[in-house]
Subunit: 320 residues, 2 copies
Amino acid sequence: MPVRSTDQILHKAAWLYYTHGLRQDEVAKQLGISRASVAMYLRRARETGIVSISTSTQLFADDVLARELEDTTGLASVWIVPEDRHAMDSAAEMPVVAAAVFLELIKKGDRIGVAWGRTVYHLADVLPYADLQGVTVMQLCGNLGAPYNYRPDQCTTEIARRLNAEGINIYAPLVLGSERLADELRGEPVIREQLAAISDCQLVLYSVGGCESDSHLVRCGALTADEMHALGKAGAGGVIAGQIIDRNGRWMDCAHNRRCISADLDTIRTIPKRMMVVEEDAKFEPLVAAIKGGFVSHLVVTTSMARRLLSRWNEVTDAA
Amino acid sequence: MPVRSTDQILHKAAWLYYTHGLRQDEVAKQLGISRASVAMYLRRARETGIVSISTSTQLFADDVLARELEDTTGLASVWIVPEDRHAMDSAAEMPVVAAAVFLELIKKGDRIGVAWGRTVYHLADVLPYADLQGVTVMQLCGNLGAPYNYRPDQCTTEIARRLNAEGINIYAPLVLGSERLADELRGEPVIREQLAAISDCQLVLYSVGGCESDSHLVRCGALTADEMHALGKAGAGGVIAGQIIDRNGRWMDCAHNRRCISADLDTIRTIPKRMMVVEEDAKFEPLVAAIKGGFVSHLVVTTSMARRLLSRWNEVTDAA
DNA sequence: GCGGCGGTTTGACTTTTGTCACACCCCGTG
DNA sequence: CACGGGGTGTGACAAAAGTCAAACCGCCGC
């Protein structure tokens, strides 16, 4: 926590430059170093979160579409990322917006639950560095091998690192070979306490998984394509923190879920801010399930997804 | 709340420049305007809090002296502003540090109580603009005419304006001519509710007033020099939100206090974060009274005041 | 004691940003 | 309809910031 003496100079330079508004050469003179060094210090100060620069995400929350979607679905807040922008790479835009929104939702001292997946890791990857000591970032579910850096513990760790927050990982596999083993492991004090602590979170961050044969759970080997297919037939609608939910967002009583080490879904529903980011348009059905299940209060989606959601909301809710 | 269409372009420019890291000429090209305009938009975005740049105040919290003072006095957190800096105008430094600390203590959605005085206004005057919609800034005490902009309502209003927060003023005088009238006014629903709402604050900001004949209360005509002198003899130790406290920080049962419209001191004591800023070294005795009275959890002081406090803490507490 | 290796620091150069005077435009007024 | 403010937008220039290769420094092993 205390400023390391090598960082002291970073703090001083940042303070004089950003807070006092001195020029770099003035800062250099005052600290008795060259201006080039000052420039370097300032970059490091920005990179480590000693200085943080944030831009309001109003721009994306301000769409009329966002308002309509909030009114229709009852979500607390919706951000819409336009995809039609030619000049700006729209695929890369979503995580950037999501990261800014995520930062805005964090309060000092918060405990934050983080799930895993491509979307979450993309967010982590563009998350600006910040100085949020006192914040705790918790893994929401057990681990499993995943391609690239999408592993649950990596998502948690990277986010914690960037925020200068404390990271808490769950040292258990996401899925176990048998229900008995999963039960026993859930009963272990270390694991039990960590899962229980999730109820203290003020904010959770996740995406929703699909139930196709190319879903993450299948690709990472937690389920076979056949098992997933069967689950789909049985009414599976999406994946939240590694657990299967049905098309109305209810926990499914299936073998997979019973063998899962993950946050209790009812607990997640009680967390005040539930931020969901959906990148792919293919995730329409899972998203609907997640919203119906009460897993979303703050939503970041593309324009086209927002339109689809809006136009088909009545239809999908009437069907219930 | 919604982005006015004239502001839309500010948001866009700020987003592209600060979040995406484009250069000004790239932003200009993308928005189809000149680079000079982009530069102007960016300045406005900074000035209005669409973009906010903040520097960690660790530097000032990190003094060994600060640690010692926290340990000795039991305060939650202390920031120490060095005064010996030749190059930097140290008188101007204190409010700048205090403003940065104040910003760091604010959480989104907070309700903040603000008192009045030179120190508080100095802080307001250098407070960076920020986009803290959802925050509420409340006046802690009634109004009175004060020189420059030190009036309670002005302090509140200016701080709320800079934060883009909601400001709530108390439309009553600080001191009334008679106790009866003060009582009746306190009983008025509008006033009563506002005073009651102070208990919902998560943070209060104030300095402490002295009890000399040149104190603010005297200069603003709330008390005569003689009355103040008499109060001093009777054990007055300082002024908190317009009310006299004794040398141990207890509310004094005096005519002035009974005629005062201000936050209940016991209520203030229950507010989690009580931030006090003391600029002048002459305020040693009042500061001690305020700390003893439990009015301070977060303190911003000069090095010399910190030293004095540290060396004389045992002495002043033993005396109690 | 010397060579080499990681890192920081610096001077010199290039690129980017800030600024300011002037052009422009909209709108209300004489 | 001409006039004159108040505010915006712009081109050109000056100022500031970013960058990079080379120098430097402390430290270790030989």
